[in-house]
Amino acid sequence: MQISARRNDKTTIFDLSGDIDFANSPEVRQSVLHEIQEIRTSRVIVNLSQVRYIDSSGVASLVEGLKASRDLGSRFILFGLSTAAREVLQLSRLLKVFEIYENEEQALAS
């Protein structure tokens, strides 16, 4: 799994790629929560288009990001759901819970 961040004034985009599982989801969780709670970025966007696999711990990391952003009045957005990511969020009944866009352009315009 690889995670990288692109930042401007009010928005940070995390690009995730590869497999997100129990071995590396703590890194996702830590990165997202740091951005929301410490940096206080008002809009955090997560790019899931290159995610080949995501397990329940990866989903939990996203849910924690969503909850943290709600607590602080910021926004937490997903875009580009890969087949794997969409399946897992659907199984978790979370597709309508997250703010989700098809691509980065739409996410940034939101």
Partner: protein
């Protein structure tokens, strides 16, 4: 049979083995992914809950073809048995949680039950045994 230790870094290796195995047995792509997800979540539960995140505890996995008779037809399937030597598991905790509450955690068991036709946990001696079975649907290719 596949013997591994409880290092989470090996999860990707197992996933890499399960999906082609399921493909060989004729499971379609959606079911291959769900079977792989179920096994991955089951192994994660062993690492977390049975072994308390210790990295070098033994896990044994057994795979075999199986079949059942359903509505007068024989259904072929894949049986996966996961064995660990952790303490006995409280079976009350193996039911998963309702999904109407939005919170992190507790989704793994849901994924396992969603994916597999049979999910059976037994304790034999000092071994926890989780038996997972998935049968091919009628529209899938035969084994």
């Amino acid at each position: 049979m596949l013997a591994l230790n409880s290092n989470p870094r090996l999860l990707s290796v197992v996933r890499g083995a399960i999906e082609p195995l399921a493909e060989t047995l004729g499971f379609p792509a959606v079911q291959r992914r769900s079977i792989t997800r179920a096994v991955d979540e089951a192994l994660t539960n062993i690492v977390r809950h049975s072994y308390g995140n210790r990295l070098d505890e033994p896990i044994a996995m057994y795979f075999r073809r199986t079949q059942r008779r359903c509505a007068g037809k024989v259904q072929q399937g894949l049986e996966i048995l996961l064995c660990d030597s952790g303490p006995a598991i409280d079976q009350q905790k193996l039911r998963g949680r309702p999904l109407d509450e939005i919170r992190p955690g507790g989704l793994g068991l849901h994924f396992i039950h969603q994916a597999m036709d049979t999910v059976e946990f037994t304790r034999m001696g000092r071994t926890n045994r989780l038996r997972l079975v998935k049968y091919l649907s009628e529209t899938s290719n035969a084994l």
